[in-house]
């Protein structure tokens, strides 16, 4: 079960819409207690994918380190990352699976015609074979 503050959802949607038709990306922070995760903050980072920003995103090691540092400085846990799927469903793709990181929460925002419509949350299982959808409640 995932909880997300509505202020975080607002930030994510604004970010996703502002870079449409390109994909946005960033990190999610908060706390985890007994497998229950609560997202209270986010950090947007540049999409460093070279040539295909409309259907790919890449977060570089430099920005990953920034996220770990942000979590440390703010006393939060780095819980996962988010990205948008412009004019596409909020479902993990084969490419998402090939490049996924286990345990990390992956939030996907669907943006249709420039408007963020909905989002879903996923965690890749340890076998690296599939993403399991997580129920998410926006508070």
């Amino acid at each position: 079960m995932i909880n997300m503050l509505s202020s975080v959802r607002r930030k994510l949607y604004i970010h996703a819409e502002s870079v449409y038709p390109e994909e946005c990306c960033g990190f999610l922070f908060g706390a985890e207690v007994d497998g229950f995760r609560k997202i209270i903050d986010s950090l947007d980072v540049p999409n460093s994918e070279g040539t295909r920003l409309d259907h790919r995103f890449l977060i570089t090691p430099k920005h990953y380190r920034m996220a770990e540092e942000h979590a440390r400085n703010e006393g939060m846990r780095l819980l996962g990352f988010y990205h948008s799927h412009p004019d596409h469903k909020a479902l993990p793709t084969q490419y998402d699976l090939e490049n996924g990181i286990p345990w990390f929460l992956s939030v996907i925002i669907s943006v249709t015609g420039g408007t963020a419509s909905h989002m879903t949350a996923w965690i890749m299982n340890d076998s690296r074979m599939r993403y399991d959808q997580q129920s998410m409640l926006v508070l």
């Binding site: 994909e23 990306c25 460093s48 994918e49 070279g50 040539t51 295909r52 920003l53 259907h55 790919r56 995103f57 890449l58 977060i59 570089t60 090691p61 990953y64 380190r65 770990e68 979590a71 846990r77 780095l78 990352f81 990205h83 799927h85 412009p86 596409h88 993990p92 793709t93 084969q94 490419y95 998402d96 490049n99 996924g100 990181i101 286990p102 345990w103 990390f104 992956s106 340890d126 690296r128």
Partner: protein, 481 residues
């Protein structure tokens, strides 16, 4: 050696929630083995089935990426800190263009290799590549990328085919002399592969048009022959986030690399500032072995294809140096400069600048505007005026600052002192005597004239346009090169 691993958050589940792990090892490889022996579930997240590190796993030793060191073989010291840092990627599975029956047959030698396959060939068809310069490097790049089935090839050039190009620029043929290089290139490309869409930009690449031209292409290939355009291409690629496949050639040596500032160094990280004008001669002045751009350009085409198909080990962070006479390839590791003015952490260049000024060269417009009419400022002389004065029997000393091999091809007389040895041999000249200096085009002699004036020579004039202009205006029978 006892070293410390910093474990990223998503992997801490496998290290008992610990963010650091102490292990022993002489090399990075040994330390990683030791880590995964200690925490075995980590193995499949760090390594692929073939035992290599997964593509999104980055390993740093004390802030240095091991890709720019000796990778797994990098030696360790006591108390080194090894960070495991994931890159995170993802995205939509886009529909690639279909291949017709004819295309599958045409590209069958690609398609039957699993590393390319149908998907790789479709990626090539979906890709667009911009080649800057349809000359020595651009020729093999265009020919091979067209043959390979790149969907869209853009070419930037404003020149016409000259007979001196044909020794190396295999895109053009004898019958195309005097014709636009772009027309010649388009015709040849469509002969090789009618499936390729070509987009021609008949212009000099400038700070004003570069962003608009480059932005529509996936990969940029630098086939330029001057520093101003090379810095312009680099900066535009960094600002647009485009990969820049770099190549350069001179005489018997060539260089090739991939500058992709999002993942590694850019051209400015390697060469922060250009050499002083005139220090590095152009191919027109210094010569180039015809086959050399064939080798370097082909490597650029290869690198672009690897980038598009996502195969192989990219040249990002590596500079390959080729020596044709020794027949050796050497490789230098390149590091991103955190203080790089364009791709560093605090960039000062956020838009394109004046690259001719940056490289200390006069622009075409400025150059022609400043050209004196006759000898008004006594620093230059036209071939016509020199001929008239010599015919009148005026006492003018003439100095050729080209190389002896050039002097052998053609000469208008006078003493030969190559520019490189002028400083040492200046005492062979009379500083009180009027002196006209010439080279092939007027560039080297311009520097020589400046050097002589600074050394106290009373009256030194540079022959405008060099012996090339002399041959055109005064002596059409003279051998040209």
């Amino acid at each position: 050696m006892e070293v410390k691993f910093l474990i990223p958050t998503p992997f801490r589940k496998h290290t008992g929630n610990s963010d650091t792990v102490i292990v022993h090892g002489q090399t990075v490889e040994e330390a990683l083995i030791s880590l995964t022996e200690k925490y075995s579930p980590l193995y499949r997240h760090l390594f692929s089935d073939d035992g290599t590190l997964r593509g999104f796993i980055n390993v740093y030793i004390n802030d240095n990426d091991i890709r720019y060191l000796e990778q797994g073989r990098t030696g360790l010291k006591d108390a080194d800190v090894i960070s495991i840092i994931p890159s995170i990627a993802g995205g939509i599975d886009v529909r690639l263009p279909d291949l017709s029956q004819e295309e599958i047959l045409r590209y069958s030698r690609h398609v039957i290799m699993p590393e390319v396959g149908m998907e790789g060939q479709k990626k090539l068809k979906a890709a667009s590549v911009l080649v800057i310069g349809a000359g020595g490097l651009g020729s093999p790049v265009c020919l091979y990328l067209a043959a390979a089935g790149i969907g869209k090839l853009g070419i930037v050039d404003f020149d016409v085919v000259d007979v001196t190009n044909l020794q190396r620029q295999i895109l053009h043929s004898t019958e195309n002399i005097g014709r636009s290089k772009l027309d010649s290139a388009r015709e040849r490309i469509s002969e090789i592969n009618p499936h390729v869409e070509t987009k021609a930009f008949n212009t000099m690449l400038t700070s004003k048009n570069a962003m608009d031209i480059l932005c529509d292409f996936d990969v940029i290939i630098d086939g330029t022959d001057n520093f101003a355009t090379r810095y312009l291409v680099n900066d535009a690629c960094v600002l647009l986030g485009k990969p820049n496949v770099y190549g350069s050639i001179f005489r018997f040596e060539g260089q090739v690399s991939l500058f992709d500032a999002k993942r590694g160094p850019c051209y400015r990280c390697l060469y922060p500032s250009p050499p002083p004008p005139g220090l590095v001669p152009s191919c027109a002045e210094g010569g180039v072995l015809g086959v050399l751009p064939g080798i370097i350009g082909t490597l650029q085409a290869l690198e672009a294809m690897k980038l598009i198909t996502g195969q192989g080990e990219s040249l990002a962070g590596r500079l390959v140096l080729f020596d044709a006479l020794a027949l050796t390839f050497r490789e230098l590791k390149l590091k991103k400069n955190p203080n790089c003015p364009v791709c560093g952490e605090h960039p000062s260049i956020r838009e394109l600048i004046d690259y001719e000024e940056f490289c200390g060269v006069q622009s075409h417009q400025a150059g022609s505007a400043q050209k004196p009419a006759g000898r008004d400022n006594k620093t230059e002389i036209t071939p016509k005026e020199l001929k008239e004065r010599l015919d009148r029997g005026e006492d003018i000393a003439i100095l050729d600052v080209r190389e002896p091999v050039e002097h052998e091809i053609c000469s208008i007389g006078g003493k030969l002192i190559p520019l490189g040895s002028l400083r040492q041999r200046m005492n062979e000249l009379d500083p009180e005597h009027e002196l006209v200096v010439y080279c092939k085009t007027g560039r080297r002699s311009g520097q020589a004239a400046e050097l002589l004036r600074k050394a106290g020579f009373k009256q030194v004039e540079n022959l405008v346009g060099g012996i090339t202009a002399w041959a055109a205006d005064i002596d059409p029978k003279m051998a040209r090169y």
